[in-house]
């Protein structure tokens, strides 16, 4: 499945080995409801062995006395959210502040929305949008469980929807072919070129509508959980060359590599040094692509 990426993924054999092994669980403490120290102490008392990543609110579950990390009262009370550290990075890079107006264009099931709300201390506003009713139910249920009160949830096609404001920050964690979540979902089908092209078109429509809703000088984080450059660098290059956005350097202390410069005859060297690719073998996580853009 991944052979076509041999020349763009560094240490490819380690990558292959990583994607064939189950992915460890990570979580973050929901600081809206409880302090990190208290939750860690409660879970440790119950027999969880946890490993914190540097100074981030991100904990790897080394071992646990339950089958699933969500099978605790603390989870039901909304004290933590099971989320891979790679999936936390887009929201942490966007770095929303209390008081800002933020749009999360493809928000369900709400892992990044609820993280942003915690960073904003439930102040300011987040418009969290998604398309399908079933996905919105999951989003609503997570917002409620985590006690997030600064979010409004909308249902609409984010390619064309009028979100009624110019936003301080936008997160576009775009629908994608999902190659980076294969460890969590080994039954995930193998995406073909047709699928990558379909998602790429969709992602370009989404980023165009995101651009329309940004204030001048405002920031957009574009992310996917897939590896194919057509869904990543190609979309970012479109935003730079066709929409006139400025690409900013992403810096974040989670192991990563820079973007792909050349792919199937396309040259992305103008933007590849700015973006960030997280591969499963770098920190034993899922995969993620992250770019930061600013509206001129």
């Amino acid at each position: 499945m991944f052979e076509k990426y041999r020349h763009i993924i560094p240490d490819f054999e380690s990558f292959l080995k990583a994607v064939e092994t189950p992915q460890p669980y990570w979580f973050r403490v929901n600081t809206i409801k409880i302090g990190e120290k208290e939750l860690v102490s409660r879970l440790s008392d119950k027999g969880f062995v946890l490993e914190r990543f540097r100074d981030l609110n991100a904990y790897k579950i080394v071992s646990m006395p339950v089958k699933h990390p969500g099978a605790t009262l603390e989870h039901s009370f909304g004290y933590y959210y099971v989320q891979d550290i790679s999936s936390m990075v887009p929201a942490l890079v966007l770095d929303p502040k209390p008081g800002e107006l933020v749009l999360d264009m493809a928000a369900a099931p709400g892992s990044k929305t609820t993280l942003m709300a915690a960073l904003m201390k439930n102040e300011g506003s987040i418009v969290a949008n998604d398309t399908r009713a079933s996905r919105l139910r999951a989003l609503g249920s997570n917002v409620e469980r985590l006690g997030v009160t600064n979010v409004m949830i909308t249902k609409g096609d984010a390619r064309t929807m009028d979100f009624k404001h110019l936003y301080d920050k936008i997160l576009l964690d775009a629908p994608c072919s999902g190659e980076g979540v294969i460890r969590k979902n080994p039954k995930h089908g193998i995406p073909g070129d047709k699928e990558h092209r379909y998602f790429s078109q969709l992602q370009k429509s989404l980023i165009k509508n995101a651009w329309k809703h940004l204030d001048t000088g405002s920031k957009l984080v574009y992310s996917t959980c897939t590896f194919n450059p057509i869904e990543n660098e190609d979309v970012v290059q479109y935003a730079v060359s066709k929409l006139g956005m400025e690409i900013l350097q992403v810096e974040f202390p989670v192991p990563h590599v820079r973007g792909v410069s050349f792919w199937e005859g396309r040259d992305y060297s103008d933007i590849s040094d700015y973006v960030m690719r997280i591969y499963p073998h770098l920190l034993n996580t899922g995969g993620m692509f992250i770019a930061v853009l600013e509206k001129r």
Binding site: G47, G78, E123, E144
Partner: protein, 143 residues
């Protein structure tokens, strides 16, 4: 959906649960046909919004607080609070009624243990009836 701003609902939480104005002032309350939503955002709710903040009350026939909102503000309640121990807490969360824990109380109460707010209960004839929604009821395998 029409969201009608009605901050008077702060009075409900002040009068019923003794929660201070200082805590309540950060919430704006919006009424729809059958619910009241507690919202701390600055931007006014979009008419397209399906959810605004957290549902705080159901108001169709009677006014009933939700477990999800009491889990946010219940720790500040000074009135109509029932403290139970962890074993009783497990039964309450599983949907069981408890006898002998709310003799002097009547109506909706905040139910909590020493460490956690468990949710909404109803005291009737000295019996505490769990109002915790099924989705929050623990499985037997949970810790």
């Amino acid at each position: 959906m029409q969201y009608l701003k009605k901050d008077d609902y702060r009075n409900y939480f002040r009068d019923v649960f003794g929660i201070s104005e200082d805590i309540l002032k950060k919430y704006h309350f919006y009424e729809t046909s059958s619910s009241v939503w507690a919202y701390t955002g600055d931007a006014a709710p979009l008419s397209e919004a399906e959810v605004v903040g957290v549902r705080a009350l159901r108001v169709r026939n009677i006014t009933k607080p939700t477990t999800s909102f009491l889990r946010i503000i219940g720790k500040y309640a000074t009135k109509n609070v029932v403290f139970i121990d962890d074993e009783q807490g497990s039964s309450f969360l599983s949907g069981e009624s408890l006898i002998g824990v709310c003799q002097s109380l009547k109506g909706y109460v905040v139910v909590r243990t020493a460490s956690d707010v468990l949710g909404c209960g109803l005291c009737r004839n000295g019996i505490l009836i769990s109002q915790v929604p099924k989705k929050y009821r623990p499985d037997i395998t949970w810790l």
